[in-house]
Amino acid sequence: MDLRGASLLPSLEDTELDKELLEELSEGFQIKLRNFGKDIFFHSPGFKHYEVDDFSIKTGPKFVDISITGRNCELMCDHCASKILWHMIPATTPEELWRVAQELKEKGVDGLLISGGSNRDGVVELYTFLNTMKRIKEELGMFVSCHVGLVDKELAEGLKEARVDAVLLDIIGDDQTIAEVYKLPHKSVKDYEESLRLLKEAGHNIVPHVIIGLHYGQIKGEYRAIDMIANFDPSALVMVVVMPYYGKARFQLLPPPKPEESAKVILHARKALPSKPVVIGCARPAGPERVKFDLYALHAGVNGITFPAEGIFTYAKSLGLRPVVSPNCCSTVFLH
């Protein structure tokens, strides 16, 4: 398949792409075709209404997010300031989690992402919820993934005993970013590496996330994070891009990385994990920059895109790809 002749659809005609970069990205596209074929996943989990001209899911929510801390986060990192928790359904006690899960199951929800704010050591304190998660798995038969922070042996093994289907965690590849953006000067890249090791030793499906532009919009530890993740046999890798309007005032003034810079990080991920799904997660800047980023991501050979920008679904078909639409969280991509 030669992509160099691919032309943009009318809805994307204002988007100017870097032709040299497209040439470079084609290596990723070929890796994807070789190892995964033409299927490409477009996810639209139920925590957000998403409707653009060529893509929407009309069924009710099938996969939703729950926060065990409500909107609270002790870390209040510069890039997020807890806003990622705001759209989640709060369930701050094990009893509430059980009740919420039952109600959601009755409404037709099949999957839960359970997460929450971190404590001052970067840990999401899921310990007291483990028995309830096990009950949700066993009695309600729901898919349960947990987006954790740093983990110790007790939590890694506890999550396994709770039979969670996948463990998600953000991996940071730069000590300065960990200290300054995440407010964890007493932690380092080694601690994130140790969390990956403990989760793999406990036998988990791990789906690490890398946030492009986390260091105040600059690319800094992303390549190291990807290389580190590749050593731990992940079930999938999720790539997201920092969203300045989520962050604290200082962060909101800083532009996210250019889509061209982000595309090179995606290509690196594709090459580092040629036989593991690499997907674009729900968090990334909105508007015209998202269109460009998503186009480059397609050319770089990703396995899926969550909430594709307008025109991307159609463009993927024009590249010869076969769209598979899913109402689930993109971290479930490894199940296919």
């Binding site: 209404h49 001209d53 759209h87 909105a286």
Partner: protein, 148 residues
Amino acid sequence: MATVNGCNIPEDLLYDVDPEANAFTWAKDNGDGTFTVGLTSVAAAMAGRLVAYTPKKAGKVIERRKSIATIESGKWVGPVPTPLTGEIVEINEALKGNPALANDDPYGAGWIAKIKPNNPEEINSLLRGQAAVDALTKVINEKGIKCG
């Protein structure tokens, strides 16, 4: 101006209100053959604080209830269905830089597009005055919407 649950509803505008079609928009006759269209305070409150506004290109002709722009907040991404069929003659450049204008000033600086309607009959089908206030009040009450 009527105010319901903090949501302003100016009585001098025309309105397209239909929850099934996700239509909660207003239109204003500019007297020069063009109409300014925008989101009602009710629509802006339902969407939440906007972070992106991606309009269709000026010059395009859009059918009534088809999208003239895509708007995005943290919890909602969707189209703005035009209340009138017509050609887009102007998009709101200020809204590109500050999408939340549609929340802060939905009937003023936060307008979505200016269009040149090509079907005068559609103008007569839009709600006005008390009928518009009643239709939006019903939506506000049914969905429990609060503005501000």
